[in-house]
Symmetry: C2
Subunit: 204 residues, 2 copies
């Protein structure tokens, strides 16, 4: 006998188990949960995936996911249209939106430069970022890429491209330092060192 009593069941479990970090036991549990639901509910689950894949757009300006050609952020009149925050992926957009501290536009690169993984500048939305600067009269670019070697490389690449293009647009990167709530003694040396170099003036 096979691992599963039914080939259809095994197939559905395989599909779930193909998702990152999902084991076969958890996959089976999810499939059996769906099996207990009504036909309409399972149909709805399946349709929501195929519809998403077929109908979702990537915003033509910032490359964020969107239901329309231009995403709600890019088309909002309430946002600062001269400020772009550069992020790796759409999850980063959601995280920054959740802070409530940012009111500008975004630009989603779709990854970071990583020669080890064969990802070069041409595989990312870097050219399309540079092409936005002059026509949209962008005054400020904030680099919010991961604090890794790849993120740093991408930061540097974008910075160089920007400085070749114009001197009037400011380029900054998000602050690196000790996370809020963290103890000094448990912070790694590199972060702690950077947090001392990049210290900010104390304001009461």
């Amino acid at each position: 006998m096979n691992e599963y009593p039914s080939i259809l069941l095994g197939e559905a479990v395989n599909q779930f188990a193909s998702l990152p970090g999902m084991g076969r036991k958890t996959a089976l549990r999810h499939v059996l949960t769906l099996l207990k639901r009504s036909d309409a509910e399972v149909e709805h689950f399946a349709t929501s995936l195929t519809r998403l894949k077929k109908e979702v757009h990537y915003c033509r300006k910032c490359h964020n996911l969107s239901d329309t050609d231009l995403c709600p952020i890019c088309s909002s009149i309430h946002r600062n249209q001269q400020l772009i925050c550069v992020v790796e992926n759409i999850r980063d957009v959601m995280s920054i939106e959740n802070t409530g501290q940012y009111n500008g536009l975004y630009h989603v690169l779709g990854g970071v430069i990583s020669p080890m993984d064969g990802v070069g500048p041409k595989d990312l939305e870097i050219d399309s970022l540079i092409e936005r600067i002059i026509p949209e009269n962008i005054q400020d670019v904030i680099l919010a890429l991961p604090t890794t070697m790849e993120g740093d490389t991408t930061n540097f690449y974008i910075y160089r491209k920007m400085s070749q293009l114009t001197a009037s647009c400011r380029v900054s990167q998000i602050a690196r330092g000790v996370a809020v709530g963290n103890d000094i003694e448990y912070t790694d040396e590199i972060t702690l060192g950077k947090s001392i170099i990049n210290r900010t003036e104390y304001k009461a």
Copy 2:
């Protein structure tokens, strides 16, 4: 702006997040993984769910999941057809199959008697179990239900029904005792007490 940049995305995340033990961040991660795959792959994922729901059978004898009217276990000539193992759900069937220690048939109850949850004997496949005993000439019934109050109640109910029906069919329950690899000192008192009462003869 909403939590998600796209309504379609939010809908797909909602569907995943409705599965047990799946948080919204994990759900989003899964949806974005699917979004990176090809149309055909996402279609395949969705179809495997709807096909499973529409086409899967429950075996008419043991109520296990099956692609056919009679499951591979019930229709196998290599299995002991006079031995039934009673389990709560199809995952238990798979677990017991994986031990490689059992060669009889199964009967899946679909739950255990639980007045607190409004589950009575009529909601389970108990009558259909009793109806199998005489026609199939079953000699042995092994109760492999969970070692909970509800499992014990169900065990007792089936035992009583069986004893009203016939005296020729043996009813047993799986051994309860200290799990293999467990320390005595960390085993709870009830289990340890039962393991002493139900001690087995030492065989070298």
